[in-house]
């Protein structure tokens, strides 16, 4: 039996478990707890429409974490994220859909079944794609994954028995658990409050799982591949295997996110899974901070809330119109802001929102010196 290590010395690590701990300092433990409590209390403080947006943010964060694992951690640039999101969304919708409806439906309405199924089907698709990644690198891989999006879009548009067809769409998966609906307004809480709590809980589960993966042997293999795949191969990292794992895990996250994404609005259309969606997720990872889980979450919320922010902006900058037929209007500002932000972040803070935080933290960490 060992004595516990001396107090107040966070750098004096006496075991590897301590060295690898997720929350290794008291400050991190306290701030995480405060953040969680604050997030749980949000539904009592905010209006329902904003809560709905935040619920979407939580789901987007799950998808962004998935892309972050393959792009940020393992360094395999993937533009095919929309394809995997689509596979997840349709798997879940088809499983839980009404058997007597106009589109395919199997009537398995329990989230405990359709959510893992959506993830697994998407992961299987990821495994099929992975051999490409073991052959190709960088730009070539990006182009090939781009092809996936077009194939996916074509299939989704044409297969109207599954998707309802372009411009029509189909209902999303049903939120039920053990026969009880998870998100309906009742005496205790509204639908949007419940939705937010549900998505928040799922986000926490997925985020902790991803952090755990990132600090494990697999996560270390990912970063080794990202930093230099030849060197990683030389030190004994099995490249085909870990690239496959990266795509499988990433697609699993994307599949789950896709399945959940449209349960908030209840209805979706095959046109959603376009290149734009992929680019949005890339933006989440890049603006949030590649190679970090917290960054992916921050980026997802930022991108999800951006349209809302530009609308709020109108109150402060009166010459921007809310009418689409006037110039300048909020929709134009939103589009411009979106592009400007990506450019600004890539040039001035490639580490993204998380990088800003790291910069602020390091400033105080080094006090009273500069390095």
């Amino acid at each position: 039996m060992r004595t516990s290590r001396p107090r107040g010395r966070p750098l004096l690590r006496t075991s590897y478990a301590e060295d690898l701990a997720l929350l290794d300092t008291p400050a991190k433990r306290v701030s995480t707890a405060v953040l969680l409590v604050a997030a749980l209390a949000l539904p009592f403080l905010l209006a329902d429409d904003l809560l709905q947006l935040l619920a979407v943010g939580c789901v987007a964060a799950i998808g962004a974490i998935g892309l972050g694992l393959v792009t940020g951690y393992a360094g395999q640039v993937s533009l095919g994220h929309a394809f995997f999101l689509g596979i997840g969304a349709y798997t879940a919708a088809a499983l839980s859909g009404d058997p007597d409806g106009r589109v395919i439906g199997l009537g398995v309405t329990d989230i405990a079944l359709w959510l893992p199924a959506a993830g697994l089907v998407a992961a299987a698709a990821g495994v099929l794609v992975a051999p490409l990644a073991t052959r190709l690198r960088g730009l070539y891989l990006a182009i090939v994954t781009l092809g996936l999006v077009f194939i996916g879009q074509h299939v989704f548009n044409e297969w109207s028995a599954l998707t309802g067809g372009a411009g029509v769409g189909r209902p999303a998966a049903t939120l039920e658990f053990l026969g009880r609906p998870l998100a309906t307004t009742d005496a205790t809480a509204t639908r949007d409050q419940k939705l937010f709590w549900l998505m928040l809980a799922l986000l926490v589960v997925f985020a902790v799982a991803a952090r755990n993966l990132a600090r494990s042997r697999i996560g270390r293999a990912f970063t080794a591949i990202r930093d230099r795949d030849i060197a990683a191969g030389v030190i004994g990292v099995n490249l085909p295997r870990y690239k496959t794992v990266a795509f499988a895990v990433s697609s699993f996250y994307a599949g789950c996110a896709g399945a959940l994404l449209y349960t908030v609005t209840g209805f979706f259309d095959p046109g959603s899974f376009s290149l734009l969606l992929s680019v949005q997720y890339i933006a989440m990872v890049l603006i949030g901070g590649a190679g970090t889980i917290s960054g992916a979450i921050a980026g997802a919320f930022f991108i999800t809330l951006l349209p809302r922010l530009t609308r709020e902006l109108q109150a402060w900058v009166p010459f921007i119109s809310t009418q689409p037929n006037e110039v300048p209007n909020v929709f134009q500002v939103e589009t411009i802001l979106y592009g400007v932000l990506i450019i600004v972040f890539l040039i001035f803070e490639p580490r993204g929102l998380f990088g800003l935080w790291v910069r602020a933290r390091n400033y105080w960490k080094a006090w009273p010196f500069s390095y």
């Binding site: 060992r2 010395r9 004096l12 006496t14 080094a366 006090w367 009273p368 500069s370």
Partner: protein, 630 residues
Amino acid sequence: MTATTAPSGVAAAGTAGAAATTIASRVRDRARDAPDRAAMREKIRGIWQETTWSEYWDTVLTVGHGLLALGIDPADRVAVLAENRREWLWTDVATVAVRAVTVGLYPTNPAGDIGYLLAHSGARVLVAEDQEQVDKALAVLDDCPRLERVVYLEPRGVRGRYAHPALLHWDEFLAAGAAHRAAHPGAVERLMAAATGTDLATLIYTSGTTGRPKGAMLTNANVDFAVHTATEGGGLASPPPGPDDLILSYLPLCHVAERVFTTWTNAGAGVQVNFAESIATVPANLREVQPTILFGVPRIWEKILATVTIRVASASPLKRAVTRFWLRVSDRIGARLVATGGRHTPATRLAYAIGWLFCYRALRERIGVRRVRYAASGAAPIAPEVLRFFMGIGVPMHEVYGMTENSAIATGNRPGRVRLGTVGEPQDGVELRIDEATGEILTRHPGVFAGYLDDPTATAAVLEPDGWLHTGDVGEWVDGTHVRITGRAKDIMITAGGKNIGPAGIENELKASPYVKEAVLIGDRRPYLVTLIGIEVDTVGQWAQQRRLAYTTYRDLTGKPEVVELIRSVVDEVNDRHPPVEQVKRFRLLPKELDQDDGELTATQKVRREAVARAFAGLVDELYAPGGDR
């Protein structure tokens, strides 16, 4: 294993009754009383691996049996040639347990010195750290007829490549020890029970600034007095060191001062020892360990001060302004503390509390002294400015004084009764007098050594029959309580003007500057004082970079007129504080860094004056040549 061995050890001690207290018996008792507490930590592959007291004692027993298996008899010598690490302590304590004598050798010593020390001490077993040390040992093996076995710790480059019959890997040595332990249970405990106070515990070689190193013999009684004074006696921190204290062990364990702070406080008070990875990683290790008790030689404190100066200078404007402001405040706090002997007044306490929020807490955390409750400087004189800086930022700094020959116990500044510029008051149980004719300090106490090994002439020269030890340091009383050291008796210079000058004071004032690493004052029987100055290449290099001064090598840097001007300003500043006869009239920058391999430094990095004066005779002649520049 401990559960069965510890009681038998106690029983053995109990039957003998009169067994002397040794560091081995102290470790055994700690293992019995607090088996699961951490005794020491060593950083291996990024993790501070802990050793508990029971593991410590268990290993010591195995090592002790291993020594018996190699045929070590009482009073035989066992030499250790390694950086500070767990094996050093295991070997040291196990050697004492089997009534043999530990000899520490500096890992930086060249092969020739190692050969001399091994032959002179008559060591039969050498514990060598790695291939580098094994190479040295093998090179001189023929000159050391008594040396039988070389136990190496790091197999890399040795195992499978060297086939010398004397070589033995540490693991094989431990296996031999375990086999011997199974065959002869209780053998080590029986030897411990027979230990007496007059048994030699260790042989510590003096650094030898003037000649060949001499082996000072310390007995168990000497060590026990030192342990007692340093721990229960309150000679160090107040309250005394205890099991909740941490220290960082980074200075050579062959030196008596580090032995006091590492091995002896560990065994005597249960202080947790943390071994630094190497001398180069001390700043990083200090930050990790945040020790509560910190001992440093002046060079270490000067270096930390220089680091702070240079890092503040290169901080962003806001940080620089804030820190400089609070360092000015800490100067005043330091000055006030110097006046009060280290006790805060309400005003300094308030100023410190505010400064703690803005600067001192973070600054102390960065340099690794956030939790230091007792800091000590010793082994060489230090400039009061350096001590005042640390007192100002809230590190309770105490200058202590002792030497190998009196087990490092003589005087020390006590918490709350600090007098800057003195080495403090005699420790409890220490008799100290200053010879009226020569001004030399003499001490007498149970820690005074048993003599130099095989050197009765040298022993007679320093040790009087009635037990008084001539320290060779010249000093004076301050207010009848504190002792001030004015210099080494043999270093005192008499200038042509007839003035006696101790070089250490002026040299240390120069070294207090972040730009000066070494200063060697010359002036004995010369018309005036001159100095050879070695620059601190890190800080001067940074200074030069900030001024866009291109340089290539150390030599190139010292040749820059701007650098000479920079050092001139340091010298002028020191000169302003002294009467003309004590002023440095001229100086030259040393064109190379002083080095142990060139014989200019001792293993403890002390300057060998004669060697430096000889090596740079040309520079010295220039300085006394008429008509040269200053």
